[in-house]
Amino acid sequence: MTAQTPIVQAKPYIPGRARSEVVRKVLLYAIMLAVAAVFFVPFLYTIVTAFKSIPDSVNVGLPHPWTTSAWHLVWTQYDFPTYIKNSLFLAAVVVSCNLFLSALGGYAFARLRFPGRELLFLLVLGTLMVPDQLRLIPIFVMIVHWGLFGSFWSYILINLASAVNLFFMRQYFLTIPRDFEEAAKLDGAGYFKTFWRVMLPLALPATAALAILQFQGVWNDFFWPLILFGQGNPDHYTIQLGLAELRFTYTTLWPEIAAGSIIAIIPVLIVFLAFQRFFVSGVVSAGVKG
């Protein structure tokens, strides 16, 4: 007779694991929602404030009554259309010129061999350590001396090239296999054609990522527009200078600032949404491979 082996029920492993997985997910989502709220609540507050009257703007909560007067004021009395146009013009010119030159320089530093390349690259990187405030006076003196003070060209000239973008592009070009360039060389393309027709299109993710960051940088820039156009030159005001106009010594038009801020965000949002696919892959690949 064989001994009966007691049947031992195995512990339900998978369901237990699934339960702890649910708890983990709930916690994770709760934390993420809390972090998202930190960013979103001020934004929500801005949207709500944009529909309040000035006396109502100091109250917390929904507008009472809802009004679009702030929107009307910024659009008609403060000439926001012109500010937006100016900002768009500057952003478009600066982004295209800066990206072109950064890519060109980045490619040269990544792939071309020329005497003094390393030293020159160190010098370019060295400029990253000089803050804008330190460059302010020499640049201001030069701009005045060249008769460009108050013109759009002064701003464009200052932002024509940037060491950060050049460095970013160089790192990206370093990740692109040499075979493409060598194939182009054998196909009879010169340096510029290789850059323009082969390498730059391959660096599209990095270029798109920089385009967003640069656009955002120019769009949100207050410092240089204030220095260059802030001295009674309202035709050249950018959106950030326009927003600053809504704040006075003894009072601040909070609903108008809120409405103006939302208007100011829209173009950046459009650019980001249009390029975000490239932006993410650009940052990732440049970060990982570079």
């Binding site: 075979d179 493409f180 060598e182 182009a184 054998l186 009879g188 393309a189 299109p201």
Partner: protein, 340 residues
């Protein structure tokens, strides 16, 4: 089409000599394979010919023109890269047309040549596609197409089949050969795969540590290897090497080399050396079997008919016909000659 000559070609990277005094003359329309293990200098030699690598010393002729200082694009050679290097943002048509546009060829002529190449390579349906929308084999054909539209003096191919699976590799190997025979263009083909070398090359140049070991037809290399490196590199499984005394032939300080397929089961064959060996591993291949044998400190591989079957652990007698044995000097590793 043009002959190509490497004349005392040398390339050094700092302290390393990648290519050492290479001398090869490639005839007009010839298919030459440069073969050797990784780091033997074969790709460096090809890249110097393409103009992608500077030459330390020596000269390269394409036709009767020295091209040492000629830009890659002006050498009139087309290269097929191991990675294909197709421009990913361009369509197949644009990939094929890129070099012609750079040469300012007329639009109608570009169109004609691209479509002709596409017909030859059966790429007609894919001209509007981007490389990422193609399979590995199709990409390979586009890479070939990019070379042939230019109608260059020579094709340079740098391990173009290494990214393909085994079946496609065999098929593409034949396609490349057919194409080369049809166009009659001088071709230099780099590979580390000796089977590719044997099946494709009119002649094969075997390289090792930057030096040319032997240059000859596949038959010459297989039958009369110049040294032990070539003897073991060409042929699969590799040639067996034993001290000549083990099979009772040759003098002292000599190695006896014999191919696995020349070994027979059983002893007593006239004009043969006999081997008493233990069977360690048997690889059954369907139509034949590979047996790994141990003779004291030595290991050899033999290729035998599938019957009678050998089994691991058995001890058997084998014989090697002396007429199939090659002798090598043990010290210099150079071939001495046939044993009989």
């Amino acid at each position: 089409m043009a002959p190509i000559t490497f004349e005392h070609l040398t390339k050094r990277f700092d302290q390393t000599t990648a290519v050492d005094d290479l001398n090869i003359e490639v005839a007009d329309g010839e298919f030459l394979v440069l073969v050797g293990p990784s780091g033997c200098g074969k790709t460096t030699a090809l890249r110097m010919l393409a103009g992608l690598e500077d030459i330390t010393s020596g000269r390269i002729f394409i036709g009767d023109r020295v091209v040492n200082n000629v830009a890659p694009g002006a050498r009139d050679v087309a290269m097929v890269f191991q990675s294909y290097a197709l421009y990913p943002h361009m369509t197949v048509f644009d990939n094929l047309a890129f070099s012609l546009r750079n040469q300012k060829v007329r639009k109608a002529e570009i169109d004609r040549r691209v479509r002709q190449a596409a017909d030859v390579l059966e790429l007609g349906d894919f001209l509007k596609r981007k490389p990422r929308q193609l399979s590995g084999g199709q990409r390979q054909r586009v890479a070939l197409g990019r070379a042939i539209v230019r109608e260059p003096k020579a094709f340079l191919m740098d391990e173009p089949l290494s990214n393909l699976d085994a079946a496609l590799r065999v098929q593409t190997r034949a396609e490349i050969l057919r194409l080369q025979q049809r166009l009659g263009t001088t071709t230099i083909y780099v590979t580390h795969d000796q089977i590719e070398a044997m099946t494709m090359g009119d002649r094969i140049a075997v390289m090792n540590t930057g030096q040319l070991q032997q240059l000859g037809t596949p038959e010459e290399l297989y039958e009369h290897p110049a040294n032990t490196f070539v003897a073991r590199f060409i042929g699969s499984p590799a040639m067996n090497m034993l001290p000549s005394s083990v099979i009772g032939i040759g003098g002292t300080g000599q190695l006896a080399g014999f191919r696995p397929e020349h070994v027979r089961l059983g002893n007593g064959h006239a004009g043969s050396g006999s081997l008493d060996a233990a069977v360690e591993v048997v690889e059954y291949l369907g139509d034949e079997q590979l047996a790994h044998l141990r003779l004291g400190d030595h290991e050899i591989v033999v290729k035998l008919p599938v019957e009678p079957r050998l089994h691991a652990g058995e001890r058997e007698q084998f014989s090697v016909p002396f007429e199939k044995v090659l002798l090598f000097d043990e010290e210099s590793k150079q071939a001495v000659g046939p044993a009989a």
